[in-house]
Amino acid sequence: MENIMEVNGVSKGLKDFQLSNLSFDFKKGYIMGLIGPNGAGKSTLIRCLMDLAKIDSGEIKLFGMTHQENTKDIKQRIGFVYDESHFYEEFSLEKNKRIIAPFYKHWDDETFYSYTKKFHLPLKMKLKHLSKGMKMKFAIAVALAHHPELIILDEPTAGLDPVFRRELLDILLEIIQDDKKSVFFSTHITTDLEQVADFITFMNNGEIIFSKEKDAIFEDYKIVKGPSELAGEIQSLNPVGMRKTDVSIEALITDVHNVAPLLPQGVQLERPTLEDIMYYTVKGITS
């Protein structure tokens, strides 16, 4: 299968932060979710993918091309939605569209208006009078109106109510009904991804913890719950993280296949959520 995105050993130093040696691939036709706590480097990575921030070393390939050679072609085929509104606040939605549309070869007014209608966007209103959610919807309408092959969204569900979040998931799944299209989005609301993402890339502290098929992740990790007396025994199995209280312990273990048989009697195994995995990876062992 063809990779739509290849990130190889990418590093980027910023003032007080650093992306170090990121590598992952993303196959065409799927949804990849980028998760991680605030400050993990998700937005910086997306800025590098869009060539807004210049990488120090490594290589980013989109559709098999690099920004150095083909940034224009690449961006023709990408629809982007950022976490802050970057359109012209002083102008109406219609005028914003009129400024942006001519940049795209395949801009499709019909698609654009079908989305603005679907999202109940007031075209004549100035952007600055819209709520954060409405601005996000406008950005999504713009991003989809030129039939991009790859849609990159940075925290699209932040600031959106649960009703629209569900709608958005539907829209994203609708996009990949065409198996040539792909969706890459970052979020810290992991429940969104738990449902629809095919691949999950997990970042923490500017590094990639893993980038895998979602189903494989859930087979690899398990939550262990048990009485607090077993803390020592569980800790000896090198869990990813553990939370010990007076009445119980809960731990996240990985490499379930090999570790599970070694667990002591009297513990329960449960399927973790992405949030569990994120929490224990970031926090480690706490008591």
């Binding site: 807004l52 102008f91 400024i99 942006i100 940049f103 795209y104 070869k105």
Partner: protein, 215 residues
């Protein structure tokens, strides 16, 4: 390129277009005294429109550049767009002068001077020299810094000129100035050459700065 110019035209604020009207008042009274101020007007308004088209807070400017850089256009092209837009603004400035001159002719029968082709070329060169100062600063820092530094130069020049007209005998200075220019075609030629070199160097510098910038 067309999209970029269109974008600049769309995003110019109303105030940007209206400001020259305020500027016309002192200019009008002086101009009627016979001096040929078309150069001053066209140059100053062209610079004003060019610079003011980038108006915005540091944050909104950053977001604007982030948006443009995410669109299918290279950063080099974005910079080119800005320098080409300066041509467009100069043209618009000239048209606005023509419109005002015709309006004044119709309403008061006073004729405003049109200057010579050479004086218009001089105006274009002057505008580009100032804009060449603005853009590298704009891409390196932000609008506030660049506009602050740049706007001072033509403002000083303009007030200096007005001031000197008041100080000296009213017609002698512009006359001397014109004589000097006509007699010095070589000076003209050099001036055009130098302004072209400055513009080109400034453009290359802006591209170099902007292509490395993290947005």
């Amino acid at each position: 390129m067309k999209q970029l110019l269109l974008k600049d035209l769309y995003t110019q604020r109303l105030f940007g277009f209206l400001f020259p009207l305020i500027f016309i008042m002192p200019f009008y009274s002086i101009s009627l005294n016979g001096a040929n101020y078309i150069v001053v007007y066209v140059t100053y308004v062209a610079i004003w429109l060019s610079i003011y088209s980038n108006f915005g807070t540091a944050a909104s400017n950053r977001l604007g550049l982030k948006l443009l850089s995410s669109l299918p256009v290279t950063r080099k092209k974005l910079v080119q767009g800005k320098y080409c837009a300066a041509f467009m603004w100069w043209g618009i400035s000239l048209i606005s002068y023509g419109t005002i001159a015709s309006l004044i002719l119709i309403s008061t029968n006073n004729i405003l001077g049109w200057g010579t082709i050479l004086s218009l070329v001089l105006s274009l060169c002057l505008a580009f020299i100032i804009i060449s100062v603005f853009y590298p600063l704009y891409f390196l820092f932000n609008y506030q810094v660049a506009a602050g530094i740049t706007m001072v130069i033509p403002a000083l020049a303009f007030f200096g000129m007005t001031f000197s007209t008041v100080m000296y005998d009213e017609n002698s200075l512009p006359l001397q100035w014109e004589l000097f220019l006509i007699e010095n075609l070589l000076f003209y030629f050099l001036f055009i050459l130098v302004s072209m070199l400055i513009t080109f160097a400034s453009y290359r510098l802006s591209v170099a700065i902007f292509e490395k910038k993290d947005l």
